[in-house]
């Protein structure tokens, strides 16, 4: 079958998709976007978390056909998504479940070109920069999913308590860090956001 959807602000068309393929497989193997990770493919680890019409989901549990006409944000598009968040949501914060980006505004973005060696770290989203600065990245396999989930948390709850962070990230397994530095990273991103307000 053919699936049409928007990924990181760019319209895509995937052909010859087998009905059993997951969104994760289509992103990784057909779109050339391997940033969403394949750690359990059972919805248990959160490594493949993407936003589907703004809602964080395990892309391994979404059948490719379900995304027809919908809008997906992956870790590859996170920096751009964060940079244009205010376009999508004038004002501050939004109610749980009400977040997400309308297709109209999504279409205005351009996906960042990949692979530059000399990327200015200013192009990272605040949560991406905070993960690096706090030492929250070790092997990094859980990182893309955690970033997508943490970014959505901060969009919803700009100043989360530790309990809020733990609850929001409880669907994302990390085997390397012991989570402490991931908590540090989310706290850091929240604190930096408060400073700039």
């Amino acid at each position: 079958m053919r699936v049409n959807f928007t990924v990181n602000g760019r319209r895509h068309e995937a052909d010859d998709v087998w009905e059993g393929e997951s969104l994760l497989y289509v992103l990784r193997e057909r779109m050339g976007l391997p940033g969403s990770k394949n750690a359990c493919e059972q919805g248990e680890c959160g490594s493949c978390t993407v936003r589907l019409d703004g809602v964080p989901v395990c892309s391994c549990l979404v059948a490719a056909g379900q995304v027809e006409g919908r809008d997906v944000v992956t870790v590859e598009g996170l920096a751009d998504f964060a940079a244009h968040r205010s376009d999508a949501h004038p004002g501050t914060g939004c109610a749980p479940g009400a977040c997400g980006t309308a297709l109209d505004s999504a279409r205005r973005w351009k996906a960042a070109p990949a692979g530059e060696e000399t990327r200015d770290t200013g192009e990272l989203s605040p949560i991406q920069q905070a993960f690096i600065d706090a030492g929250a990245v070790q092997c990094g396999f859980c990182t893309p999913g955690l970033l997508v989930a943490a970014d959505e948390l901060l969009e919803r709850t700009p100043q989360p308590s530790d309990a809020d962070i733990r609850e929001a990230l409880s669907g994302n397994l990390c085997r390397c860090t012991g989570y402490e530095k991931i908590l540090d990273a989310v706290r850091l991103a929240a604190a930096r956001a408060e400073e700039t307000v």
């Binding site: 940033g35 394949n38 359990c40 493919e41 309990a163 990230l169 085997r175 860090t177 012991g178």
Partner: protein, 794 residues
């Protein structure tokens, strides 16, 4: 003696920015947060096929026949391979004993053993074709424990063993056995006022690295193969892969692709040979990616263990003697079992002074899943038992458990049961003092938030199973002793190639090693070492491959020590050569070239007094200095096979934990509130990474204490829970805060005085949590993990 303090103030200044001692950031960090870092499962090649492995559905059986015809006829399938398709007479591999078949021949010995391979144009096609392979199994009785493995008439897991351990084991179903006898434990027992014994069981833990086993094999025009794979030791893989493929090692070119964690689980081969076989057969690139279910069968696990311990102590709290027997279940193939036995026996006494000991450790061959390396490697099982014993003795004597441990703590100069003297700082009593002195988390934290209890802080969390009634708190302590590096006479070397040249007017260093970066941060540290030794701002880390000599394994807490040492060594040689070039070019201009101690700092040649003699760019001009050297730590020796005596280890690391838990005694639910750790790291080359490693290791130890266990059916030897649904890993909701106190007491024998750090925190966190749960409940609790039924008496 080094600097002490918390991780925030160990960041001592160094002269070169970004050098050792600083919390520099990961060079691969940006790629990892943008999703652009290429892990082994992300590889892609034009015209690529997908490989799939068909695995045994039974634990022990003769294979009467295999029919691949229907699978082979499936549209989209390019190859189906069985044992008969292996190209050479070398059909087995293994880390130490070559007992593991590439594909089962004649017999399968454990549930999930690879039997056949399929290559197809879509992963689902490969899976469906594999399901059409018909195998006629004739099931055999299984052996699953010591009694069944050594019973008269027990089936032999490996008939006709010819490995070098066979002469020293009492039964062919025992892989290896190591006794350690020192003094006279039986005579010393007479001095004891109290004697305590205990029987303990340590469950089978999985490394559960998140990046699945995966890689891409690309056939080459010269008949060889290029393999891109996630592993812990490229050269060890190469040594095992090439003979099976019938290729010389230079025709199997290996490049490390992104590794999503390892923890010992990538020391053994998984899909490496399979992908190469399929690629060579089809002439096309073949990618294999295990799903999580297959990953549980695709790597070895931590040895489950049964441990019997006896300790005695005098009324005034001095240990008199120790006797123990440790039986490790190695499963169907040897993997690293012999070395795990060596560690379990030689570290069985823990960080305590006991002169009279009688120790025996052995590993079994059974039809259970194969077990091998995992973080802590034989030392964690022993630590769980001896720390429980310490608490038992302290209770018998009416002493504080920390005080009792401190009274018996080893220190620099102590003799281990192997007769080896500990010749570097061993701050066991100090680490216990520090961890005990850390502030305690507030009592009944769930009440502090407001009038209503915050159920998120309670055992059971949002399940809302309690509002605090029936919840009791407990505190427990533990400390552990781990060796660093490969022991028992292993030639544990590493290689580093360092190049220095001028690019764009600036001196640049390139570090090339075969070290597997598995997340531990070795690449960060190598750049820091090069900046420190060569005084350059820009350091490039070359991708790890087999074009440079072996770096040894990323395991045993050894990489920063050994490959870090090799990088330092090669940098020093490069520096000497640069200085020599400088002397030849500019020596006549300034007497200091001949008389002063010279350094490279900030791209310049400077005297130790800080006087600048030349720009490195002017010394090098368009020449490059390029040096590859091997580096070895001090040699070790094998343990005597009867007495266990020998200088077997090169370095030790120590960590102490204090666990605070709250237990809902009605439902048997445990919440670990805090796991405080104090660890000596010798020298923190990167304090941020050091703390990250300690926290990660701590949580892996907590996992085995309260939730992680691979369940193997005792009757069929089949794995019951090979998924993240059923094998429980700690989530961020399960983990406590982890304050860390880092001590830096230099080991004068190690580069920069550093001490391997990765494993020690995994040892002591498990028994600390168990001790805290015992303290809270008053129950004996002699197995890991502790489940609700153990706490409620069901």
């Amino acid at each position: 003696m080094g600097v002490t303090g918390s991780p925030t103030n160990i960041n001592q200044g160094t002269r070169t920015k970004g050098g050792i001692g600083e919390s520099t950031l990961r060079p691969d960090g940006i790629l990892k947060v943008t999703g652009e870092f290429a892990y082994s499962s992300d590889m892609w090649h034009e015209d690529m096929l997908w490989g799939h492995t068909l695995r045994s559905t039974v634990a022990h059986a003769e294979i009467a026949s295999i029919d691949i015809s229907e699978a082979l006829a499936t549209s989209g399938v390019y190859a189906v391979l069985t044992y008969d398709d292996l190209p050479t007479a070398m059909k087995n591999y293994g880390l130490e004993i070559q007992d593991t078949p590439v594909l089962a021949h004649g017999r399968v010995r454990h549930h999930g053993e690879p039997v056949a391979l399929v290559a197809a144009d879509h992963p689902e096609t490969a899976r469906r074709a594999a399901a059409k392979i018909r195998i006629d199994y004739r099931e055999l009785p299984v052996v699953t424990d010591e009694a069944s493995a050594t019973a008269p008439g027990a089936p032999l897991i490996h008939e006709g063993r010819d490995d070098h351990h066979i002469g020293h084991v009492p039964h062919p179903n025992i892989v290896h056995r190591q006794p350690i006898v020192r003094g006279d434990a039986e005579a010393a027992k007479a001095r004891a006022d109290v004697v305590v014994t205990g029987d303990y069981y340590f469950g089978m833990q999985d490394q559960a690295f998140l990046g699945p086993e995966s890689g891409l094999a690309v056939p080459a025009e010269d008949g060889g193969v290029d393999l891109y794979v996630a592993t812990q030791w490229l050269h060890s893989d190469l040594r095992q892969i090439a003979p099976v493929l019938g290729l010389p090692e230079d025709k199997v070119r290996m490049t490390l692709s992104g590794v999503g964690g390892a923890f010992g689980g990538r020391e053994d081969l998984s899909m490496q040979i399979h992908a190469c076989l399929l690629a060579l057969r089809t002439g096309k690139p073949v990618k294999i990616v295990y799903n999580r279910f297959e990953s549980f069968f695709g790597h070895v696990h931590r040895h489950p263990a049964r441990l019997h311990y006896e300790h005695g102590a005098t009324r005034d709290g001095k240990l008199t003697h120790m006797k123990c027997r440790i039986v490790l279940d190695g499963g169907a193939y040897a993997s690293a079992s012999p070395a795990v036995v060596g560690n379990a026996s030689s570290l069985a006494v823990g960080p305590y002074v006991i002169e009279d000991v009688d120790i025996e450790a052995l590993a079994l061959y059974t039809n259970n899943p194969p077990c091998g390396a995992m973080r802590g490697f034989g030392a964690v099982q022993a630590c769980f038992a001896y720390e429980a014993q310490m608490d038992k003795l302290a209770a018998e004597l009416g002493m504080d458990p920390v005080r009792f441990r401190q009274l018996n703590a080893m220190e620099q100069g102590t003799l281990l049961p192997t007769g080896q003297q500990v010749d570097s700082p061993a701050p066991v009593a100090e680490l216990l003092r520090r961890v005990k002195a850390m502030p305690m988390p507030p009592e009944r934290q769930w009440e502090s938030a407001g009038e209503h209890p915050d159920v998120r802080a309670l055992p059971g969390g949002l399940s809302n199973t309690t509002h605090g009634e029936g919840v009791v708190r407990g505190v427990g302590y533990a400390v552990g002793l781990k060796n660093v590096g490969f022991s028992e006479g292993f030639d544990d070397y590493s290689t580093a190639r360092v190049r220095m040249e001028v690019i764009g007017g600036e001196p640049v260093a390139t570090v090339h090693t075969a070290m597997a970066e598995v997340g531990q941060g070795g690449v960060t540290v190598h750049a820091q070492i090069a900046r420190t030794e060569l005084g350059v701002a820009q350091v490039t880390i070359h991708p790890a491959d087999t074009k440079v000599g072996s770096a040894g394994s990323t395991s045993a807490s050894r990489q920063t020590y050994v490959t870090g040492g090799a990088v330092k060594n090669s940098c020093e040689a490069v520096r000497e050569q640069v200085l020599e070039m400088g002397r030849r070019k500019f020596g006549t201009y300034h007497p200091a070239w001949a008389t002063a101690e010279l350094l490279l700092e900030g791209g310049k040649v400077v005297t130790d007094g800080g006087e600048v003699l030349a720009d490195v760019a002017d010394v090098l001009e368009d020449e490059a200095v390029d040096i590859e050297l091997e580096w070895r730590h001090r040699p070790t020796e094998a343990f005597d096979l009867r007495t266990g005596q020998g200088n077997g280890h090169v370095q030790y690391s120590f960590a102490a934990h204090r666990a605070v838990v709250e237990v809902d005694t009605e439902l048997g639910l445990v919440k670990v509130i805090e796991l405080a750790c104090a660890q000596d790291v010798g020298k923190a080359l990167n304090p941020l990474s050091v703390v990250g490693q300690i926290q990660g290791g701590t949580i892996q130890g907590m996992g085995i204490a309260v939730m992680e266990e691979i369940m193997v059916d005792p009757v069929t030897a089949k794995v019951r829970n090979p998924s993240f649904t059923d094998y429980l890993l700690p989530t961020i909701l399960d983990t406590p805060t982890i304050p860390v106190d880092v001590l830096e007491l230099a080991d004068d024998h190690a580069p920069y005085g550093l001490r391997g750090i990765g494993e020690a925190p995994t040892l002591s966190s498990t028994p600390a949590v168990l001790a805290a749960i015992r303290n809270a409940t008053g129950l004996e609790l002699n197995r890991t993990p502790v489940r609700p039924e153990h706490l409620t008496g069901l």
